[in-house]
Structures are given as C-alpha cells and as structure tokens.
C-alpha cells in the first residue's frame, strides 16, 4: 500500500510539471491526433458492433431470432424496406446506446459460456430474454418502434377500421405504448401464460 502511494506520488510529480524534452507544439498536436485516432477508432468499433452482420456472426442469433425475423413483415414486404437487428434492439442516441452496450457485456458472457448455444436452451430462456426487451421498450415508450412509426405520421383513415379504432383508443391517448399490444411482431413468442394483451385492463397504463 505504501509502495503504491509513493508510485502514485512520483507519477503525479512528473504529470504536474512542465515537459522538459517535448515542445508544446508536439504535445498539443500529438495529443490532438491521438485523440482523433482514439475517438475515430472507438466509434468505428462501435459501429461495427451495430451491424446486423455482427449480430448474426454468432450462430445463436443467426439460427434463432434472425431466421424467425426473415418470415415476418419487418423483413419481407411489398416495399422492400426492412428493419435490421440494431434498428430495434439498439437505442439510436449516444447516451442510451452506450448504456445498452454496457449491458450487452452480459451477452458476451452468455456467448462464452454457451447460455443459449442450442435451440432448446434458447427456447427455455426465451421468456426471460423477451421480457427484458418488453420492459426496455415499455420504459422508453417504444422509442425504437417510433424511430420509424411516428404517431404524427400515422394516417388512421388509411388503416382498417379495427386498427384505427385501437390506435385512437390506446395509442393517441397515450394510454398504451406500441409494445403493449405489438409483442412478437418480429420473432416468435414464448409461452404467454400470464402475459395479458395490451388492450386488457390488467396492464398498468403508462
């Protein structure tokens, strides 16, 4: 402990005194360039982990959620617009993205120890994994849905009467958020016993 303190003291003495060998220009420019390289490298690495190709480079994601997504309207539809994994599962703004990325370190743990490395393990854990996503979307008012589907742009006269009525009753009043009713739209659902549909009174209103 004493040695550690003296080491810290020595470091601080060097750190707090002006440089003897290096010019101010070298230090400022060098610091700036190092900063650019660090920040650029950090963001590039972050962007790489935000690509679908990265998500499905693990067989767990490729064989389970991705295969299921491919059959749904969020992958195949008449206009050819599709959602990729990070569109829904990674927040777009920086702060929340970093927060989610830190949470994702748990997923690295799961990958290393093979928590869901077979279909059976994945199915057994599906309710827990799905619940995490439902809770995340519920607490941010379905932000990732609304990145594409905005209530302002939703023309309910172009919807079927039943959809228009539901959106009028629950969405526009702010009584419910997207995920309350639209669960399992991009993947298969787990055992839904005890999970009430969003239009039932038992769901706590947002």
């Amino acid at each position: 402990m004493k040695g550690l303190l003296s080491l810290a003291g020595r470091f601080w003495r060097v750190f707090s005194r002006p440089s003897v060998h290096f010019s101010l220009g070298f230090l400022t420019l060098g610091g700036f360039l190092a900063g650019v390289m660090f920040w650029g490298g950090f963001n590039t690495a972050l962007e790489v982990t935000n690509k679908e190709a990265f998500c499905i480079s693990c067989h767990e994601m490729k064989n389970n959620p991705y295969e299921e997504l491919k059959q749904t309207i969020h992958f195949t539809n008449r206009s050819g617009v599709r959602a990729t994994c990070p569109d829904c599962h990674v927040p777009h703004d920086w702060t929340h993205k970093i927060g989610r990325k830190m949470q994702a370190s748990k997923e690295v743990w799961g990958k290393i120890f093979g928590t869901i490395d077979t279909r059976e393990k994945f199915l057994d854990k599906r309710l827990e994994l799905a619940t995490h996503e439902w809770e995340r979307l519920k607490s941010n008012n379905s932000l990732e849905c609304r990145n594409c589907h905005s209530a302002e742009s939703m023309d309910i006269t172009r919807q079927n009467p039943r959809a228009a009525k539901m959106h009028e009753t629950y969405l526009f009043t702010g009584e419910r958020t997207c995920i309350d009713c639209h669960k399992g739209i991009a993947h298969r659902l787990p055992d839904m016993k005890g999970v009430e549909p969003g239009w039932n009174g038992t769901v706590s209103a947002k």
């Binding site: 079927n160 039943r162 009525k165 539901m166 739209i185 055992d191 239009w199 039932n200 009174g201």
Partner: protein, 160 residues
C-alpha cells in the same frame, strides 16, 4: 478404353429416337394457357399472380348456418401454437371488451363429450382449421350452391 467409347456411341445411337421424340414433344405443344386441370408435363404454365387478401374488416354473410365465419382481417404471422394463440388474444371471452372483437362461439367451449369447459376446448384451438381469410381470386370451377332461403323461395336453379 476403345471398347468403352464404342459402347457409349452405340448407346447414344440406340437412344436417338427417344431423344428426338422428346424434343419434338416439347417443341410441338404451344405454351397455351390452361386454366386448370392436368396439362402435359412438358408444358410450363405461367403461374397466375397472387390473389389479394380481403382485409376490409367487413363481416360476410354465412352461406349456411353452420358455416364457420370467415376472417375479414389480415392474419399474417399470427402465431397459433403451444405458446400462444394470437386469435384468442382478441376473441377469447375475457379479452373481448378491450378488443371489441366477436367472442368465439359457445360451442367452442365444449369438448367432444359435450362437457362445457372454462376455456376454449383443445379440439377447437387451431382456429384456421375452420376459419379462413378470403382472397379476391376467382373460382376455378363453377358452383351452383344455393342457400336455404333461395331454395325455400323456389328460385330458379343457379340463381343466388
């Protein structure tokens, strides 16, 4: 080696009439449009465009009293399995207030012994075995079905 080539040449010569007749058969038949029924296996019939689903939320009259009502809305990706029955999230008795959907028929609560259960009977669980959505496809074969009212009214055969 030489004998092998000779054999192959002989086999080819023997098969020649067959090959030629096959080519003629494929060429001779014009790719005429066959609306239905069997057609020569050598003919490739272009597929009709996919029919559009009818999803206007408009209830259709049943053609006879026992007819399972048709589904007038989209049911794409509706999951009906051990985990969840998507249809029942609206049409189950306890969910109809929130969804304002028609409740499943009372007959659906009875098992095959006529015992009334508290929830949908297992034999009625798979909705799309009987209830189906419709498309705007035209019937391939004509149909002279008349409903009971038109028969009682003594209308002409074929009239609806």
């Amino acid at each position: 080696m030489k004998t092998r080539i000779t054999f192959a040449a002989l086999a080819l010569a023997a098969a020649m009439p067959l090959l030629v007749s096959g080519v003629f058969a494929a060429d001779g038949a014009a790719p005429a449009k066959v609306p239905s029924g069997p057609h020569p296996i050598t003919q490739e019939i272009p597929a009709d465009p996919m029919a559009k689903e009818i999803t206007d939320d408009h209830k259709r009259a049943r053609n006879y009293a026992d007819q399972p009502p048709l589904i007038p809305h989209a049911i794409r990706d509706y999951q009906i399995d051990l985990n969840i029955n998507k249809c029942m999230t609206c049409h189950d008795r306890k969910n109809t207030e929130g969804s304002q959907a028609p409740m499943i028929s009372v007959t659906h609560f009875q098992d095959r012994d006529g015992q009334t259960l508290g929830a949908v009977s297992p034999r009625r669980y798979f909705c799309t075995q009987c209830h189906v959505p419709q498309t705007d496809a035209q019937p391939i074969v004509g149909n002279r079905f008349r409903d009971i009212d038109s028969i009682l009214a003594g209308g002409k055969e074929g009239a609806k």
